[in-house]
């Protein structure tokens, strides 16, 4: 018996874009139609420009038909190791997990897996809305590879963990989404494979659910089982894994202890610092009529910078265009620490007056500008995300990691001590110190007094 749980050698997976049936390529056709239209419209201008442009473009298209979701990836995982897999969307994380859990085949290279693999690429796979909670536990358990006897043995434990005892004989279509997730996770959590492969399961559900999942995951991690854990949640990676690998455009670019890997990912994975400009081909079609143009961080002097001072005000700008009127649009930002913990989320129409005024936003070009107050953020690296949506109607565009910036802590409160202050905020709080020497009336002090200036 070897010490290795997973060995991956030169693993690669190629996908064909728009691969359809002889000539019938819906997406491709659609794109072609659109390209035809735009090229017709811009023809007079193009003739003035580079003549070879169109030809180059066609050559490019032929090469682009194949895309390597994963290439030349090699690594191994020892038994009992808990490994995090991080990378941006499309970096190949899910493809790797899908190969290791046998859902899809590699196109080249090979992988060697020692032991029974349980994969959780989603919770509630195969749940049927018409079946009751009880029935779905059996069905889902069987799909996940549990034996009937095993499910029966763990049934009470699963129900207990899910907290939906009362509704166990109700069809799950009547469940709230929270109950549904809890039940689904409860079944998955009781899977006992030697190797567990988990993808982004924690990305769904409310804070309490996520906490519960994290708790269960850390139990699993401490039971000595081998775990491969993919997440965008850097604090989850840091909590749960000892080591992490970083994937970028299908290649393994870094492997180190979790804190270093997270740091590497955060500083190198995000190319744009201080400003993010969206090219038209980066914007999904589903975003229309919203079109993000740029997001930037500016200092007090109005310069685009990658570092702002904790003690000075700064501005975050979102520039975008609307190709059509949008009703109820709100454009906002997420602010997270480099480790992925949320600091805040804020929208440009949070204020009631603004909300009334911009009920419908007509087509045109806009800038939504948000002022960050001085003495607000602690020193460190932060990530800004963007979200443009109409509440409960549609999410037009979202990018959780649009750009990063740094905060410099010079002259911030407490900077006379060269120590790291915990937490993402560093406000200048007012402290009063009372004592015998200065007051002399300590016995009389009441609560009102204490806060009174």
């Amino acid at each position: 018996m070897s010490d290795i749980a997973i060995r991956v050698e030169d693993l690669g997976k190629v996908y064909r874009l728009g691969a359809g049936v002889g000539g019938l390529r819906p997406r491709q056709d659609y794109r072609t139609l659109r390209e035809t239209l735009t090229s017709k419209l811009s023809a007079p201008f193009r003739r003035l420009a580079n003549n070879g442009y169109e030809k180059n473009r066609q050559l490019q298209a032929a090469e682009d038909e194949y895309i390597w979701a994963l290439r030349n990836v090699s690594f191994s995982v020892r038994k009992g190791q808990v490994i995090g897999v991080i990378g941006r969307n499309g970096a190949g994380k899910s493809t790797l997990l899908k190969i290791l859990s046998r859902i899809t085949e590699p196109s080249e290279g090979y992988a060697e897996v020692h032991g029974r693999v349980g994969s959780l690429l989603e919770v509630g796979t195969g749940f049927h809305p018409e079946l009751t909670g009880r029935e779905n536990i059996y069905l889902n358990g069987a799909i996940l590879g549990m034996k009937r006897a095993e499910i029966e043995r763990k049934f009470d434990e699963i129900v207990d963990f899910s907290g939906v005892e009362k509704f166990i004989d109700t069809p799950v279509k009547r469940y709230s989404s929270g109950m549904y997730l809890r039940l689904a996770f409860a079944v998955a959590a009781h899977l006992e494979p030697e190797i567990l492969v988990v993808d982004e399961v924690l990305a769904v559900g409310d804070a309490e659910f996520q906490r519960k999942c994290l708790g269960k995951m850390s139990d699993v991690a401490h039971e000595g089982r081998t775990v491969l854990f993919v997440s965008h949640n850097m604090s989850a990676i840091l909590h749960l894994t000892e080591e992490a690998i970083v994937l970028e455009r299908g290649s393994l670019v870094y492997r180190a202890a979790a804190p270093e890997a997270v740091d590497y990912y955060m500083s190198s994975g995000l190319a744009k610092i201080g400003e993010r400009i969206w090219m038209s081909d980066e914007i999904p079609e589903s975003a229309a009529p919203f079109r993000p143009l740029a997001m930037r961080v500016k200092n007090r002097q109005g310069q685009v910078v990658d570092t702002i001072r904790s003690t000075e005000p700064a501005t975050v700008e979102v520039e975008y265009a609307l190709d059509d009127t949008i009703v109820g649009l709100r454009v906002g930002l997420y602010l997270t620490t480099a480790r992925g913990e949320y600091v805040l989320a804020s929208f440009d129409t949070d204020d009631m007056v603004q909300f009334e005024r911009y009920r419908a936003r007509p087509a045109g070009r806009y800038i939504s500008r948000c002022a960050l107050p001085p003495d607000f953020l602690n020193e460190g690296r932060y990530i800004l995300g963007i979200n443009a949506s109409s509440y409960r109607i549609r999410r037009y565009f979202q990018e959780e990691q649009a750009l990063t910036f740094n905060v410099d802590g010079t002259d911030a409160p407490g900077s006379q001590w060269p120590e790291t202050r915990l937490g993402p905020v560093r406000p200048r709080l007012v402290w009063q110190i009372e004592g015998d020497a200065s007051l002399g009336i300590v016995p009389d002090m009441d609560e009102g007094h204490f806060y009174d200036r």
Binding site: S101, I103, E105, E112, H128, A142, G145
Partner: protein, 296 residues
């Protein structure tokens, strides 16, 4: 799917570890029925789910399993039996056609469900590994419950015609009755074989969704459901038997109604074809299986 080799057994008596090699595979894959057997409980649960869910939120519920063949029988009796005066091998036309509609219903249902099964279970296929054969197999097996319900009605009809005044029909229990499970098996084999082909093709070509109703309609005409196989001229009989369902239907009538002689030559041809379709279907399915998750 992935070419895998089990270096050692997973049986608890041999606590050796299981090693899985995942690498690109080419060409035809082994059927790996051993692994399928290992997942038999999954097949059971998937079948059970299909049955359980099928008539949920319908007013008539499981009655549909009976109404469908029964109403078809009524229509056939009126148009073919009464108006067109199609011969019915000396049994009352309703019994004659209903006996054929039982395996026919099982066949079309299994065929349609299996054909659509992979696409319908797309979410599962892209998120978890299990032998994909489990899905169409479960779809086919799910039809057996409807078959059993509809079969009860046949017994009722037989008893009715047996005791009805003026009826010259009498229930004939012959030794041939013992062969009934074999014909049932033959129809399941045929449905599974065609279903495997169609389900795998459907992953790539959604045209299958549109072809399915046409196939079942066309197939009905070349199967002796509304008419006896004896209407087909003798020299065409063997060609006719290339349709395995012809053998199944004639076999059902022979076993249950005991009127004609055993459908010997027809049955031999039908069985051969059915097995051929199943085996090629299995291999084609296994060959295509590796791309299911990427293309479905």
């Amino acid at each position: 799917m992935t070419q895998t080799s089990l270096q050692s057994s997973t049986a608890p008596s041999q606590p050796q570890e299981m090693v899985l090699f995942l690498r690109p595979s080419r060409g035809w894959a082994a059927l790996n029925l051993k692994e399928l057997w290992h997942f038999r409980e999954l097949i059971y649960f998937l079948t059970w789910r299909d049955v359980k869910v099928r008539y949920k939120q319908t007013a008539l519920g499981a009655a549909w399993a009976i109404l469908q063949p029964f109403l078809t029988m009524v229509v056939f009796t009126i148009f073919f039996g009464r108006l067109a005066k199609v011969p019915s091998d000396n049994v009352p036309y309703p019994i004659f056609s209903y006996t054929a509609l039982l395996p026919w219903g099982l066949f079309t249902k299994a065929l349609t469900d299996a054909g659509r099964s992979l696409v319908a279970n797309r979410a599962m296929i892209t998120k978890i590994y299990f032998p994909r054969l489990a899905i169409p197999i479960a779809s086919v097996l799910g039809g057996l419950v409807d078959f059993a319900l509809a079969f009860v009605v046949l017994i009722g009809m037989m008893l009715y015609y047996n005791f009805a005044p003026g009826s010259d029909y009498h229930i004939a229990v012959t030794p041939a009755l013992a062969t009934l499970p074999l014909f049932l098996l033959l129809s399941v084999v045929t449905a599974l074989g065609v279903g495997l082909w169609l389900s795998a093709l459907n992953v790539l070509y959604r045209d299958i969704n549109y072809v399915l109703p046409f196939i079942t309609q066309f197939w009905l005409f070349i199967t002796p459901v509304a008419y006896p196989a004896s209407m087909v001229p003798g020299r065409w009989q063997l060609l006719y038997a290339l349709n395995p369902m012809a053998g199944v239907v004639e076999g059902f009538r022979w076993a249950l109604l005991g009127t004609q002689s055993a459908p010997g030559p027809i049955l031999a041809v039908s069985t051969t074809i059915a097995i051929l379709i199943l085996v090629t279907g299995l291999f084609y399915f296994r060959r295509m299986e590796r791309t299911f998750a990427d293309t479905v």
